[in-house]
């Protein structure tokens, strides 16, 4: 195997059904060693089932799971070198923090002194040293979260699975824990698979993101790749905030320009996979719209809603019967008020074209 890079984790063609519900549908992806990998998608797309499959808690119907090149599809849970943080934290309620930390080591047969050292080390790292004798239900949400993390890290797993670990925390704590998790990842260098329905978490933490839908990966890539080149309207709608504007359009005979309610848009590219007259959707990021300067090609529009968000302002305008949202720096939106007529310019080099029927990106 020397020379060839074996991925830390590889799922090929994994399927799992619960009765008539297909939780995982021919799911395949691999994760390089040491990568912070995010499974992203709304609830019930199979993120948790995927993590539970990797941990060995779920017996799959079909497919193959490899860890460091070894087939562990039917291997016992213990010995996979995988640990997991649950959304509910799943702390042992009858044990103290110390005993919670010690549990995986005890089950592994680690000696008492070694356990004590590592528990203290872990507690210090997570600022829990003063909480070791407490029961979980006497701790705050943030502390419980850190106990759950510590219990997973203390075994020094090769792969750490995190199932929406921040969902049960308040906004401020979430922010702190995001930084904390990145720090721990840098410090230990283990492979992390992180499931989240939160776009901000996915983009800010993931070195690589797999967008899931109906138990399968729709697209994977770096945050930039997903943002710049979404493969379909599903990914385009999930990544980027505020969401991409979608405008109905028809592809012209030259396969390059589009007829839209906003007028004719010249993309400057040729969409060879499209057909003349094909119904399409034009996706425009809110950040690719701005008020036009004089003499520039512009679409007439009327402001109908202004949402100041501090340093930026989201301005909703109506143009050709469509509602478009644009993100403007605070100072360039300051003069606008609802009802104003504003000609807007579109950055045509950055528009996305999708097939109306399938939602797939046109190339």
């Amino acid at each position: 195997m020397a020379g060839s890079k074996v991925p830390a984790l590889r799922l090929s063609g994994i399927s799992k059904s619960y009765g008539k519900v297909r939780a995982l549908d021919d799911l395949s992806f691999d994760v390089a060693e040491g990568r912070f990998f995010v499974l992203f998608g709304p609830s019930a797309v199979g993120k948790t089932t995927t993590l539970r499959t990797i941990a060995g808690l779920v017996a799959t119907d079909a497919g193959r799971l490899e860890i460091n090149g070894h087939d562990v599809t039917t291997a016992p849970i213990a010995g996979r070198g995988v640990s997991m943080v649950f959304q509910s934290f799943a702390l042992y309620p009858h044990l103290t923090v110390h005993e919670n930390f010690a549990y995986p080591l005890k089950e592994e047969g680690v000696g008492r002194e070694e356990i004590d050292t590592r528990v203290k080390e872990t507690a210090a790292m997570l600022k829990l040293s003063h909480r070791l004798e407490r029961k979980p239900n006497t701790l705050s949400g943030g502390e419980q979260q850190r106990v759950a993390l510590g219990r997973s890290l203390i075994r020094r797993p090769k792969i750490l699975l995190l199932d929406e670990p921040l969902t049960n925390l308040d906004a401020k704590l979430r922010h702190d824990m995001r930084a904390e998790l990145k720090r721990l990842h840098r410090q230990f260098g283990m492979t992390i698979v992180y499931a989240t329905p939160d776009e901000l978490e996915a983009l800010s933490m993931g070195e690589e993101i797999a967008v899931m839908r109906n138990g399968a990966v729709v697209q994977r890539g770096t945050p930039d790749e997903l943002y710049e080149r979404p493969v379909d309207t599903y990914v385009a709608g999930k990544i980027g905030s505020p969401h991409m504007n979608m405008v109905r359009a028809t592809l012209s005979a030259d396969l390059s320009s589009l007829d839209t309610p906003l007028g004719k848009l010249l993309s400057g590219r040729k969409f060879h996979s499209g057909a003349a007259g094909e119904a399409a959707l034009v996706g425009i990021r809110p950040s690719d719209l701005r008020p036009a300067i004089e003499g520039e090609a512009a679409v007439p529009s009327r402001v109908h809603l202004i949402e100041p968000l501090g340093d930026v302002t989201v301005v909703s305008v109506e143009a050709g019967g469509e509602t478009l949202r644009m993100v403007l720096p605070e100072q360039s939106a300051s003069g606008l008020k609802p009802g104003d007529a504003v000609p807007i310019a579109i950055d045509l080099s950055k528009i996305h074209i999708f097939r109306a029927a399938s939602g797939q990106a046109m190339t």
Binding site: F86, S88, P93, Q144, R151
Partner: protein, 314 residues
């Protein structure tokens, strides 16, 4: 008084925090209702200490003390321990010499039979309940329902088939027989109780233990069981009370050597043709109350407190 408090605390009472949020009025109302509930028990306990004439006097004597002259003299009786002596030793014929009544044996029987059948049911039932809760069979609920049907009929209805079964296998009158019977009866209750406690636990916690390296057996003993200690205590106490007081099966299925107190009590007060000896009956009942009272008393902290409360966010 401080020393007094600590004694009560070591016995399991929480430190009295005065009148709670409900206020004096409601507390008083509850105290009155509780006292009315407790009256029959109190009456029996007093009767156990009364001389025979005081027990049957009209108007009835009500108190062993005049409470510093508060209670008129004709309602006060002089307490005696004589009745407790005659539970174990008394003359069976008029004017005859005192002889052992065998009640020491009956108390021993009651304790052995009730505790072993309840414990046995607790062990088997808890394992079964975990199975029903975590590894459901096809048609799981049907089996649970069938298990409960054994408790749907009054004992008198099933007694005939049970007697016949015991005759056939030769279990009548033996400890094994009556213990097995009570175990079977307690099982239904234990399985249903414990299953509901296991159902309440977070499955994530058990999965976390599996990932941390525990076997299924380890998950049961180290993770699930410690979380349902309150449930075990409650099930144990309820089962014990039911079994301790059971009369009909014991009457028909226990032999002279395995007779339990409720059966012996019945025979003691109705034999001899002298009418019912109320003070003797009251003394037996008072003694009979002590073991269950103690067990409940020492388990009360577990009964009141669920250890899993508020530990898992859902």
């Amino acid at each position: 008084m401080a020393e007094h408090n600590s004694i009560w605390e070591t016995l399991g009472f929480r430190k009295a925090s005065g009148v709670g949020e409900a206020g004096w009025g409601r507390t008083l109302a509850v105290a009155i209702v509780s006292f009315i509930y407790f009256l029959p028990v109190l009456f029996i306990i007093f009767t156990a200490f009364k001389p025979q004439d005081a027990a049957l006097s009209v108007p009835p004597t009500l108190s062993p003390t005049s409470l510093f002259g508060l209670i008129p003299e004709q309602f006060v009786f002089t307490p005696t321990l004589e009745n407790f002596g005659s539970v174990f030793m008394r003359s069976m014929t008029a004017g005859g010499a005192p002889e052992p009544t065998g009640f020491d044996r009956y108390f021993f029987n009651s304790i052995v039979i009730a505790s072993s059948s309840v414990l046995l049911a607790l062990v088997i039932g808890t394992l079964a309940a975990f199975g029903f809760s975590r590894y459901p069979l096809k048609g799981n609920d049907t089996y649970l329902f069938i298990i409960l049907t054994t408790r749907m009929l009054p004992a008198i209805v099933v007694i005939i088939p049970v007697i016949l079964m015991f005759r056939v296998v030769g279990l009548s009158g033996s400890y094994t027989g009556i213990i097995l019977l009570y175990t079977a009866f307690n099982l239904a209750f234990t399985i249903w109780m414990m299953k509901s406690f296991f159902d309440e636990l977070s499955l994530d916690v058990e999965d976390a233990a599996r990932i941390d390296g525990s076997s299924d057996t380890g998950v049961f003993f180290k993770i699930a069981l410690p979380q349902v200690i309150a449930g075990l205590a409650a099930t144990f106490v309820f089962g014990l009370i039911l079994t301790w007081n059971e009369f009909l099966f014991a009457l028909l299925l226990s032999g002279p050597d395995t007779r339990t107190v409720p059966v012996a009590m019945n025979q003691a007060v109705s034999s001899g043709g002298r009418g019912t000896d109320w003070t003797l009956l009251a003394a037996i009942e008072t003694l009979f109350l002590i073991p269950v009272f103690l067990v409940t008393f020492f388990l009360q902290n577990h009964l009141l407190r669920g250890v899993t409360f508020g530990t898992v966010k859902r």
